[in-house]
Subunit: 325 residues, 2 copies
Amino acid sequence: MKIAIYGYGNLGRGVELAARQNKDTELVGIFTRRSPDTVKTLTGAPVFSAAELESFKEKIDVLVICGGSATDLPELTPALARNFNVVDSFDTHAAIPVHFEKVDLAAAETNHTALIAGGWDPGLFSIARLYASAALPEGADYTFWGRGISQGHSDAIRRIEGVADARQYTVPIEQAMDAVRRGEMPQLTTRQKHLRECYVVAKEGADKAKIEQAIKTMPNYFADYDTTVTFISQEELNEKHGGMPHGGSVLRTGKTGLEGENGHTVEFRLALDSNPEFTGSVLVACARAIDRMAKRRNFGCKTVFDIAPADLSILTPEELRAHML
Amino acid sequence: MKIAIYGYGNLGRGVELAARQNKDTELVGIFTRRSPDTVKTLTGAPVFSAAELESFKEKIDVLVICGGSATDLPELTPALARNFNVVDSFDTHAAIPVHFEKVDLAAAETNHTALIAGGWDPGLFSIARLYASAALPEGADYTFWGRGISQGHSDAIRRIEGVADARQYTVPIEQAMDAVRRGEMPQLTTRQKHLRECYVVAKEGADKAKIEQAIKTMPNYFADYDTTVTFISQEELNEKHGGMPHGGSVLRTGKTGLEGENGHTVEFRLALDSNPEFTGSVLVACARAIDRMAKRRNFGCKTVFDIAPADLSILTPEELRAHML
């Protein structure tokens, strides 16, 4: 399978590294809207201008689009799906139905296959929610995130006056998770599910008390959570908080039996040292499935719910049945 | 969807109870090789003789076959797949390829769709292994089972002279699981992964030391494990060990990065109060998928690897994208 990457940020680098780990995958190149000579790739993969993309139409099986969900992907994915089979990691949950319709129209009209919302949430977490709800029709769902860096929350802190840099960890509350695992089906408030841990570098002379207050009272982002704010130096931030770990748990508990007397817990848990590298790796597996579905002329927009698991694997159906079932 | 159950043991009862929890599912009846008047169902579902089954050909969308993997299913599933869309829970991992071929031939020739090896292992655990290996091509896999009742090991103890009754729990070793979760990729022997806990009722006058010795040295079943044997009364066995709990964890850890510097852990965990009720519930979800695939004329034998997750769910694709992705 020949893939290419559109957009070369953290996620693009994750896809680049993942392509090396998949023996059936050849990385044709990286397409950037920047000047190609200014981009140095991790693995020496060639870099091309996004303007050249159309001339690669016959050379790329699947294009992995690595852009932001706020403004990039809503434009890019439908446009690129007119010329390529594509995969994206669109993650604005509420906007998925609209994005799906736009991409489906573009891909179906031009006999292409597209996957939107690949990765781990949406992605593997969504799949875990679906399997668990199908297996336990009467039950309750929970998703806990972290411990991990939230880019959106870190950005929100950086926009506060007097802040030079910041990292925010979303931390799941263990007692809440354990109550869920025990099958207690607790009703949990936002505050009872997650903590927010902030590491902040203040500009020289900045009012730290005011910064802390501004963080803790910020609506949507922090006001509904127990939030800790720790001021540290830029050096300490770089050294101790330079990674991009993430993860979390999808949990469903449910009841079966004549009187609902038997309880069951299903949990899918991820602990990731590098969010973009793991996400990139999932996107390469999704690209494999999309390549196969396109070759079967199964066109249009798909989500992970539409992909039979076997299509994600490098192994043949016979190998899967013999060794993995 | 109209389903019927073939065989009415613990698993058949699990499917019967699960059918009630799925609003799109009607249970046409239970087919038994025993005399139907001797069978009393949990929910009042009608009971028919297996000999009558063929006259129900037009009234059943999917037949869920609840038999044993040793002798029942290798005969029953291929035979019944000639007249019905079928689901089974064949769980002899090594014999799956042969069973698949036989069922595929029968189903494909007669335009039926069959799912073999549904349930949780094989089943949901297999799916977890596949997703994790697709997401992390470079890594190591582990499956831990329990804490739960192993029917096969309980039966093996019951066959020892002087034993009146017995239950055996397979218990995963927490330290081993934690080492795996930490990404240490340990090489684990059989003994390092699971303990075996045996609760035994001795017949009056039986030599308990001899029974204990016979259990602990039994090849394949116990000799390679640390095994505890506790003698208790029949009353205590019935009261404290009468359930059929089970579960376990599928774990994969892997590395990404330019030098494999980032570690990742994927875990899928089940904790089940009732193994047959949960398995029955998964089989009903599988029956839904098989019904849909048959209506799309996608015939032949399938495994859970071939089922797109969306086909298992009672929700529409639009509902799934809006609420579960």
